[in-house]
Symmetry: C2
Subunit: 349 residues, 2 copies
Amino acid sequence: MLATVIHGERDVRLEEVPDPVLSTGGDAIVRVVAACVCGSDLWPYRGVTPTKEPHRIGHEFVGIVEATGSDVSTVKVGDFVIAPFYDCDGTCVNCRNGVSTSCLNGGWWGAEDQLGGFADGAQGERVRVPHADGTLVATPSVPSDELVPSLLTLADVMGTGHHAAVSAGVEPGSTVVVVGDGAVGLCAILASKRLGASRIVAMSRHADRQAVAREFGATDIIEARGDEGVAAVKALFDGVGADYVLECVGTQESMDQAIRSARPGGMVGYVGVPNGGAELPIRTLFGTNVGVNGGVASVRSYVEELLPEVLSRQINPGRVFDLQLPLAEVAEAYAAMDERRAIKVLLRP
Amino acid sequence: MLATVIHGERDVRLEEVPDPVLSTGGDAIVRVVAACVCGSDLWPYRGVTPTKEPHRIGHEFVGIVEATGSDVSTVKVGDFVIAPFYDCDGTCVNCRNGVSTSCLNGGWWGAEDQLGGFADGAQGERVRVPHADGTLVATPSVPSDELVPSLLTLADVMGTGHHAAVSAGVEPGSTVVVVGDGAVGLCAILASKRLGASRIVAMSRHADRQAVAREFGATDIIEARGDEGVAAVKALFDGVGADYVLECVGTQESMDQAIRSARPGGMVGYVGVPNGGAELPIRTLFGTNVGVNGGVASVRSYVEELLPEVLSRQINPGRVFDLQLPLAEVAEAYAAMDERRAIKVLLRP
């Protein structure tokens, strides 16, 4: 089959790779209907994290089950399924605690699983899914094609934006600032709106992203950054800052912006993968009682909550995809995101 | 009047100082019935934070109102009052948000207030209280003497232990580890018990403190620290750690212990004043979804909740005082705490 392999900086190629095969009783083979490129895929693409040897890439996909191991009971051949950006058994103590990204038996796409099998990267034609029962969620029926983009966001960005909001504790009537206007930041706006925030500020300098932010529920847009951005936030909120700030970038600059935008006693929910040496200024946090909560989003744990609203069209997070390309053009998909010509690119094998 | 002045390392003296005088309409003069020495007073006492010039010290007291400014309406001459370890107006946006330690008009004992008056240190005979209405809480009647120690803990340590538990989110049925067996740590155990924790681990190596910990609700004691301590905690909780960990020390070592003792998705509530360069390991926090929340405890905001249980003897946080001395022996009070001969010392002018 064909799958994407990253070879180094700005070098991703669609290549012939071995077809996946079932190897444990609990696995499944899924034919990919749609995959996409993640902001975090850009770190190796840009060479920020070096690629030591070529490897499969991509961790977001939806598809149709083609085969299942003999122990699989929750999905069957022909089901349309959503996969989170990791695999998990759904039964260990961490999964039961809702932190399925810390599954004791789980793993990541494009890597060997803990039983020695291989979990394919998502930017390909097929994926072998370890722990199919714990990992995959089947929709009640095969959805219409126009729902695919929104369903695909449940694999990562919508669940991750939701995790930022939930980790911060966004509640009805609260005020929220979202730092980061990528797909995750935009989804964090949508998540905050769903959770009842009364005022949502998008920190964004890009007209196209501001438009989506408004559609998703942003009530205010702030283009300024740094001291000026913090001052603009405080001016909106009694001079002290917002109740909750959602950090969806992962740089030192964005984390500082987030912490300084929270009011005393506020909370930063963060989901930006800490890139480089992002540090938390503990004395500032202590003095202002600003908390920091978040991490690798346990998106699998959120699918049941978010899926009905996608299926009923109450929310349309798929709006973050502003470019669709055939899988054959995966290199162009990366380039478009790298050059900010697209917010997020959907790929169809 | 007499009040305590710190001159430098291991040099605290009771000295004659000017009597406090009312200087704004909103202030009050309180005759101190009981004060005490705080773990944080030991930082300057030990020279860890240098004393550049002699200054008043002490920030925990209860007493009787002797005089009030013309604008004061919530307390009157003769009232027995509890003062938090800071003054606050009770009306600014941060006070309304429950974060009275960030009061826009507040200040600290032993320092000038924002209107240019002086707020005396608590380890003395009398204290001028700026913002008497926002700061002081009167008990319904003058309490019996044996209640004084527990009432005094509402000025700091009980409220601070409660803040650790509330910041972490301790809830009925949850599991808690408390790092630190000083007065605040012990009160954090009591607070967790009140909030319904089903299992509470005290990290303690001192038999006297272990005994109080048990009285306050600890179900388990762990003496080990570092890797061994973390392993012992994990062994108690499904191999993954506790739901909530309360950090009540403020060193890098104690914060590391706390973070590593929390299960994935858990929360560290911290109230130990960060001493030196305590850092938060953001990549570990991100990977495990362990959050960190807390800071300078807004104890004034908790008095109304905790006071009835003290008055009805449901809780007896005053148990942390294992030595009472006359104010004249303040130097011995510091020495006893410094040398760990006492958990916490109560002073009576």
